[in-house]
């Protein structure tokens, strides 16, 4: 069944919608709590990448446009609720795009298999990885 929505009419927001939103936000919060280090590394990496991108003309244009977006302004509530501004103090040397370039370079390396084998053997020797 398809409902025709008239934006001029008042509308009722059902409770279930808020519950879905609550569930989503709670899931995000739990993810951050369960994986604090991984979340911190990913977010601070993206922050650093954004900081560098903001120095470019393209980055400045994006920043200018998104600053005036209502949706972005509202998303600030989520950002602040999770306390993610604290990660601004972290300045990782490697950004996600740098990681990506390194992964692609590794995939193109003809010695990839032997390098991976050597790494696994070394990790097993050092006790970081259990042997099968």
């Amino acid at each position: 069944m398809t409902a025709v929505q008239d934006p001029s009419l008042p509308h009722l927001t059902l409770r279930e919608e808020n519950e879905q939103l609550s569930d989503f936000l709670l899931a995000g919060q739990r993810f951050l709590m369960r994986h604090p280090q991984a979340s911190r590394d990913v977010i601070s990496g993206l922050l650093e990448e954004g900081r560098r991108f903001a120095q470019t003309p393209e980055g400045k244009a994006w920043m200018d446009a998104l600053t005036h977006s209502e949706l972005v302004k509202r998303s600030l509530m989520i950002w602040e609720a999770y306390g993610l501004d604290l990660l601004l103090e972290t300045r990782p040397a490697v950004t996600p795009s740098t990681w990506l370039e390194m992964i692609v370079a590794a995939m193109a390396n003809p010695d990839l298999e032997s390098i991976l084998s050597m790494l696994i053997v070394e990790e097993m020797r050092s006790g970081n990885v259990a042997s099968a």
């Binding site: 993206l46 922050l47 446009a65 977006s69 600030l76 990506l100």
Partner: protein, 109 residues
């Protein structure tokens, strides 16, 4: 890019190469994310034609850098994926009647 069409291609890759599925999934995610941000940027420009000066804007730098980081990463990722050429062996082992690499190249163009 037609991300729904991209999703249709995923099962064709599925059991053959999980790395490719991961790459395509990330491609789909970055495309959707960029689509959302581009539409936000467009509508913000239309709604605030006079508010283009820094004095009028008070962006939260943390959130803004994070968003810019996702944009930069998405651009970078999509460029890299578009640059990937299919190995001959993969084309030969594709299921009969399908040309997933060709379809993928068409989508990424």
């Amino acid at each position: 890019m037609a991300t729904s069409r991209l999703h249709e291609l995923l099962p064709a890759f599925g059991e053959r190469n999980q790395v490719l599925v991961l790459l395509l999934g990330l491609m789909s995610l970055t495309s959707r994310w960029m689509g959302l941000l581009e539409s936000q940027a467009r509508s913000a420009r239309l709604e605030s034609p006079l508010s283009q000066t820094a004095e009028q804007a008070d962006p939260d730098l943390g959130l803004m850098y994070f968003l810019l980081g996702t944009i930069s990463f998405s651009h970078h990722y999509q460029e890299l994926i578009r640059g990937i050429q299919p190995p001959p062996a993969t084309q030969e082992s594709a299921p009969a009647g399908s040309d997933v690499w060709g379809d993928l190249r068409g989508l990424l163009r």
